[in-house]
Symmetry: C2
Subunit: 332 residues, 2 copies
């Protein structure tokens, strides 16, 4: 592998699972170096996996000249809506903002900040939004007469797990989203099924009840919870905290993006495009996507771009440390 | 669907299966119009599927001002090596040049011609090279510690079918390339197998022998043919011309691009990215990719680009008739 530009100096903001994943991913990329991890916690309490320095978040703005691109590893609920527009004033950033409905508003705010400061902000990077979005876009452009299907899982949904844990009498809980095999097969068989919410995914819950709690009542509350569970076939298992810790701490995830499309004189020819991910760790994979797009951020910057961008705007070659010549020779 | 630019005026050069596919695909795209089909044959002998005008190829250069982008639908063996560099002097072009080893040389020639004339040439567009290349690139950038696997089929290989037909005593023949199911499964199971040529694909031949030909000898010649068959497990079936015409005229194809990659402190986390195509018609699908990239060609042109490009260089959004705002809202 030959690199076509200088070493990219990366900062990480936030050191949860995603920040840790970004730290490990940077180690896999020879053209990058990790300048530092920035945290709201006491830096002394953070033990990174590498010898990267850990700084108090207050130090961040003093290090503008040391950081080429800052990866925001906070959450979409409360961290990013504030950090994205704030920090795009000072840094080239990459983030994984994933509240789909709020993306247009978030984009506008980050774009304004980045334009003002002549920075590049790459938002909503990861696998959905991210790689799944790209596959929906490519497939839809190639086969304009067709149908899209996105399935998620098997994997833990944080939102649904949180919803379970808010129920009275629940000590802890995890929820798996599982695609329905028959639905996947019907799409693959070219049946163009119209699938209800219930027909696409099932939900499986592992719940730790508090001492003396009414498990029948908890189960009923879960199964009938509007938006989260009422529209799905949901199974509830009551288990001990030990079992939950031992068997359900995995952070695996994945899913499928499919498009069935038709071509021909009378749309008589069927095609299927299928993209799938089986991820041993959702945060480690998402972080790896963020790190690849940190490279793209720098390429964009070198081409004079400013403002906010998404995966849709990035030439694929910008993700690679290889030159155009090497890519054409070895990967095309 | 709202369009963000004017109608794109497309020309098609060559009217075999690929040209016919392009004609049909243009019909599916409301922001395009087919200016004409250009052919080496007598135009009166060509019967298009739509009411598109058919012109003698000699007329092409007189219509430079009528054509925004020209899709070259000839073959990679003899047509494109000449047409690409020639026509990039006069037109923005898109082609499906697919001789992998010759791409760097072809790129250089087309790039020089297109740079001189301030045109945009998009080369090697289709599914391999094309969508498969893109998936190799994306997956490799996200998971730099990993292994790539590409499988083709089940589908007819023109090159191998031609090789069979050159054997003495053979009247006609078709060859299917078939991925080995156990190999696919070993990759999906995360076994990181090292697969020999023989372990990845099998080859199945349907052969029509001439009257009185020695079928044992033909079979031996096929099975032992260097490069084409000797390294594979090959099955040969002798059938009648009627059977071949009836059961083996399909132009279905497809394949799989997979990457298994590792992340984590000790590369202990496994991930699988899989992209697959099941195509009812290889030429109709390839043509649909060409047509989507004809749109991208025009976007590049409007951004002032000149020279040769591949799918690696194209921002995905350029393939879509939708605006950035619409894409972020509906597809991200």
């Amino acid at each position: 592998m030959s690199t076509t530009e200088n070493i990219i100096r990366v900062g990480i903001l936030g050191y949860g699972n995603l920040g840790r994943g970004a730290e490990l991913s940077i180690k896999q990329n020879a053209d990058m170096t990790l300048v530092g991890i920035f945290t709201r916690r006491d830096p002394a309490s953070v033990k990174p996996e590498t010898n990267a320095p850990v700084y108090d978040m207050d130090k961040l703005l003093t290090m503008q000249n040391d950081i080429d691109v800052l990866i925001l590893c906070g959450g979409s609920a409360t961290d990013l809506p504030k950090q994205g527009p704030d920090l795009a004033q000072y840094f080239n950033i990459v983030d994984s903002f994933d509240t789909h409905a709020a993306i247009p508003d978030y984009y506008a705010k980050v774009n304004e900040a980045a334009k003002k400061s002549n920075k590049v902000a790459l938002i909503s990077v990861g696998w959905d939004p991210g790689m799944f979005s790209l596959n929906r876009l490519y497939a839809g452009c190639i086969l304009p007469q067709g149908k899209d299907y996105t399935f998620w899982g098997k994997g833990v949904s944080q939102g649904h797990s949180d919803a379970i844990r808010r129920i009275e009498g629940v000590a802890d809980g995890k929820q798996y989203t599982i695609p329905v095999e028959e639905a996947l097969q019907a799409v693959r068989d070219g049946k163009d099924p119209v699938l209800s919410t219930r027909e696409k995914h099932t939900r499986e819950c592992f719940v730790v009840a508090k001492d003396g709690a009414d498990t029948k009542k908890i189960e009923a509350e879960i199964i009938n919870m509007p938006n989260y569970f009422a529209d799905y076939n949901t199974t509830v298992h009551f288990i001990s905290q030990d079992e939950l810790n031992k068997n359900h701490s995995a952070i695996a995830h994945g899913g499928f993006v499919m498009r069935t499309g038709k071509t021909g004189v009378n749309q008589e020819t069927n095609h299927l495009i299928e993209y799938s991910l089986k991820l041993g760790s959702n945060p480690e994979f998402t972080a790896s996507v963020l790190v690849a797009y940190a490279r793209a951020n720098q390429r964009l910057r070198k081409h004079g771009a400013t403002g906010a961008f998404t995966v849709f705007d990035i030439p694929p070659a910008y993700l690679s440390p290889l030159s155009g010549e090497e890519l054409r020779k070895n990967l095309l």
